[in-house]
Amino acid sequence: MFTTGSKTLLGMGTLALVLAAAYGWTTGGSGLGPLSAGYKGAVGDHLGYTLLVSFGVLSVFLGLVTVAARDAEGVALAEFAGTDLAPTEPAPAHIAYSPVFGAFGAGLVILGLVISNVMFVIGLFVLLAVLIEWMVLAWSDHATGDPEANRAVRDRLLAPFEVPLAGGLIVVGAVGAFSRLLLTSSKLGAVVVIVVLSAGIFAIGVLFATRPKLSPNVIAGVLVVAALGVVAGGIVSAARGERVIEHHEKPEGEGNGNGNEPFVPPGTNKSSPTTVEEG
C-alpha cells in the first residue's frame, strides 16, 4: 500500500505531530488541547506548536499524494491509467521554480498567522503570484508543439508584469539592506559604508563598461555575488539592530503620554485661538 517515497513523508509527518503534542504538553498545554489543536484545552507555546503541526500536516498531505501517484513511477502510472505501456515523459522545457516559491509563500502564510499580519499578507501575495505563474505556465507549455514558441508566448504575457515587479523588489531590497547597514553602523562607520558601497557600484559599472566582451556568465556571477553580499549584510545588520540614536526627552507632564500630541513650547498660551474668522 505505502510506496517508498510516501513512507518517508508519512513518517516525518507522524513524528512531527507526535512531537507537536509532546511539545504542547511540556510548554503549558492542558487536557486534550495539544491533540485537538486547542479545541479542548490549551496548546502550550503557540509558535512552536503551530510550526510542528503545520509541518506534520503538510508532510502527511504530501505523503498521501505520493501514495495516490504511486511515486510517479511509470509502471504504476500505466496501471493507474489503464494502459499497457508507460507514457513517454517529455523532457521538461524549463526549470520550474513555482514549487519552491509556492512553498516559501505557504511558509510565510503559516508563520504570519503566528508572528505578524504583514508576513501573512506577503505570504498570500506570494501564493497568488505563484498561482498565476503556474497557471500561465501550464497553459503555455501546451500552447504549441514548439517549446521555444511556448516560452515566447509565456514571456509575452507575463514579462510586462514580472520585469517592473522584479525591478521594484530589487530596489526595495537594496534600499532596505542599505538602510539596515547604515543604521547599524556608527555615524562615521555609516559614511565609510556608503562610500565603499558607492565606490564598489561605480567600479562594477566601470568594469562592465570598459569590458564589452565580458562573458555573460562572469557578469551574472559578479551581480549575484554583489546581491548576495548586500542581502546578507542587510540581514546581519537587521539582526544586529540599529545603533543607539539619541532623542531629546520631553519634559514630564506634557501631552497625554501617547506621543501623538504636537510639541508645544513652554510659555505658549494654549487657549489662544489657532484660527481666526475673517472680518
Binding site: H248, E252, V264, P265, P266, N269, K270, V276, E278
Partner: protein, 375 residues
Amino acid sequence: MAARSSRRWKAALLAPLVLTLAACAESAPLDTLDPKGPYARAIDQLVDPVFAIAGVVFLLVQFGLLFLAMKFRNRKDDDGSLPPQVHGNFKLEIGWTILPALVLAGVGAGSVFTILDLADTPKGAQEITVIGQQWWWEYRYDVDQNGEDDIVTANDLVIPAGEPIALTITSRDVIHSFWIPALNGKRDAVPGREHPLTIEADEPGVYRGQCTEFCGLSHGYMRMRVVALSPADYEAWQANQLTDSEVPTDALAKEGMDQFRTSCSACHLVKGDGGNEDLFKGALQVSGAAPDLTHFASRGVFAGGIFDLWADENDNLEIEPEEVGQQLNVADLKKWLRNSPGEKPMYPEGLRGMPNLGLTEPQIDALVAYLKTLE
C-alpha cells in the same frame, strides 16, 4: 550704431566691476564669509576650497567655451564643411569621468566630516531654547536646569563669549529659520519639532541674523541678534535677569505702569511687583505668545529687532553692548507705541502682531517712562 556698440562694451566691463566693488562693503553684518566662531569657521573652511575648485572649473569651462567659439567661428571664406569629428576617445572619456568623480568625492567627504563636526554638541554646553513666532524670536534659559525656564527674553540672544551654546530651536506658529551667519549655519524652526544647533562666539560683540524662511507679512523684518558678553558681564546680566520688576518711584513711570496694566496685559507680561502677573492670562495671539517685557530696557533692540532701543550721547544708534542704558531711542519707541502696524507690516485684526492701541500722547509718554525702568 558704433556708439551703441561702444555703450554695450562699457556696460559689459562696468557690470563686473560694480559687482566686485559691491562685495567689498565695510558693514556687512550678514556676511557668510566672515566667521566669528568655531562652528561658522568650520563651514567657512569647507566653503573656501570648494569655492576655489568651483572657480577653477568655472574659468576652465568658460575659457574653453570662448576658445572653441573663437576657433571655430563662421569665417567669410568658410566652405561649410565640418572640422574633423572626434568620437570614442577612450582615454579622454575615462579622464573626464574619473576626475570629476574624484573632485566630487573629495567635496563629499569634506562635507560629511564638517556636517558630523557641526552635529556634535559638547557635553556641558549651556542650553537655550529658541522659539520663533510671527515676527520675533523668544529665548528661554533654564539656568538651574530644573525643567522650568528662569529667564525669558526676546530679540537679543545673550550668551557668554568663548563658550559653546546648545540651542534647541522650535516655532509656535509657522516655519521660521534661525540664522546668525557669523556663528553657524541656518536651522529651521518648525512647529512641533525641536532642532538642535550649537553656536559659539570667539569674542564679545553683537552678531546679527535674519529669519530665512518666508513666514508671512513681516518675514523681512524678523531679525535677531546674538549679544556675546565676557564671562563676568554675562554673570551680571544673568543675575539681573533673575530679578523681578519693582514698582517705579517716579510719578510718570508709575502712571505708565498703570497704563501698561490696562492696555498691554492682554499680551505682554512683566513679572514682579511692578508688573502685571495678577492680570496676565497668556498672550492673546495666534502664536500664544508675545514678548516678555520684564527686562525690556536691558535689550538692545525692540519690535522684532527692527528698532534699536538705545543710542549713544550723539544719538548714534550703532552702539556697543556696554552703551545700552545710556540714552533711550525715544523717537522710535514712541512711533511704535503710537501706531505699531504702521511701522511694521502685521495682521493685528487676525491676532498676528501688535495692534494700534489708540494711545494718547500723554499715555505714550508715561509708557515710555515705565518701560525705561524695566532694566
